[in-house]
Every structure is written in structure tokens, then in C-alpha cells.
Symmetry: C2
Subunit: 137 residues, 2 copies
């Protein structure tokens, strides 16, 4: 079974999807990612889909699931590298990537995550009530 | 034809090899990488082979070729994420990865490239003769 590698770069986990995702591969990736987020304490997940010619409902759902899992584990998910044709097809198919943030490339994805963490940091420092609401397990 | 995506992170190009490399894919990757190095002016190339179960002589040669091309274009190549089993097989097969530097993971690869660039910088500033010796084509 193919296993999608997860690379850790600073505070971010980077996943580059290049193979066709089967049910098994998708579930494995979700499990691996969840484990790595917990093990590393990373606060951001970047999923690169440059290599994908098509994003169908299965892949779309997988991305949404990963984003949801990451969110529960206090990590932000950004999908990067979407091809123009993929974006057009997504809209034509009426698929909305629920709860998924996108960026043009890995660097902008990293900036997005850093900015979003900085915002959260401000809240934690300035407003204890909000911070408690999000921080308590 | 599969195309291996090249991700730019800061001053580094990151390639995660996950698919079986055919002749065509390998040549395409070499061309793409050379173009990206020139276009971006990046000084480091990190090739992640976490996903590879085996590195045969073909892949070994491809990595060496990429390292040589990058070197000519003033970029350092580091191969990261080699599995223990792959390392053992490489040695057993008597394959030496000529001219290739390795690191345990992407982060250490980045440190290696940064350190090596810093060294180059020092030499250029401190000792013109050495710098000329390495810098002249």
C-alpha cells in the first residue's frame, strides 16, 4: 500500500499528494497526519495538490476531513498548488471545499498559517476568556 | 506522464519523490529542476525519498545527475528521509551516491544547506583566493 509521506518543516507539516488516493491511502493519511500533529505539536498542515490533475468529490471530502481532524487537534489546514483547471472543475461540479483554506503556493500557505497563529496569539494575550474557550481540552 | 512537483520554500526547492521513476519522469524532473533553479535563483535542492522502499542503481544515478546539474547551477543538493532498509540495501549493492549529501529529515537538510551557504559566504569574505578557486567555472 502506498503511504503519503508527511514532512515536518518548522511548525508545519507538509503533505504533497502525488498518487491516486484510494480509500485505504486516504484513511492511512488521515491517521498518520493526526498522529504526527499530536506527536510534533505542529499548528499547521499544508497539503500540496500541484500534482493532481483532477479533484473529485472523494478527494474533496478527504481534504475536508483532514481539515476537520486538524482543527480538532488545534492545527490549521491550507491546501496549496491547485491548478487553474482543477479550480474550474471544482466549481463546475458544484464541489465546495468546506472548511478548507487555500493558498497559491507553499510559501503563501506558510504565511497564511503564521498570520493566523499570530492573530490567535493576540487573542490569547489580550482576552483570556476567548483563549480559555479554545485552549481547554 | 507523471510529473514530480517542485515546491519552493524560501531559498530551497523541495522535491518529494513518491512515484516509481521511469526514464521519462526522471529526465522531466531533471529539466524541471534545472529550470526552476535558474528561474528562482534558489541555492538549495532537497530531495525527499521517504516514500521510496528501494533505491536501485537507476534512482541512484538520477539523484547523482540531479546533484551534478544543481552544482553547476550553484545549488546544493541534499537527499533526505532515506529509510534504514534503503541505506542497508544501498551498501549491500555497493551503490555509492556520488556527490550526494544526505540528512535525516527536511529540517536537517535545510540546516545543512544554510550552514554550507554560510561557510561559502565566510570564505568569500575572508579569503579571496579560496573563493576564486571554488567560484570560477
Amino acid at each position: 500500500m502506498e503511504r503519503v509521506p508527511i514532512l515536518k518543516i518548522g511548525d508545519i507539516l507538509l503533505v504533497s499528494i502525488q498518487v491516486d488516493m484510494s480509500d485505504q491511502t486516504a484513511v492511512q493519511l488521515q491517521e498518520d497526519l493526526a498522529e504526527r500533529i499530536v506527536a510534533t505539536g505542529c499548528h499547521g498542515v499544508i497539503i500540496d495538490i500541484t500534482a493532481l490533475d483532477i479533484v473529485d468529490s472523494f478527494v474533496g471530502r478527504m481534504l475536508s476531513t483532514i481539515a476537520s481532524i486538524s482543527k480538532v487537534l488545534d492545527a490549521e489546514t491550507v491546501v496549496v498548488g491547485m491548478r487553474p483547471a482543477v479550480a474550474i472543475t471544482l466549481v463546475e461540479l458544484g464541489l465546495s471545499l468546506n472548511g478548507i483554506r487555500t493558498a497559491l503556493n507553499v510559501e503563501r500557505g506558510m504565511e497564511l498559517i503564521a498570520a493566523s497563529r499570530a492573530d490567535d496569539g493576540d487573542v490569547t494575550l489580550g482576552d483570556d476568556e476567548d483563549a480559555d474557550a479554545t485552549a481547554t481540552p
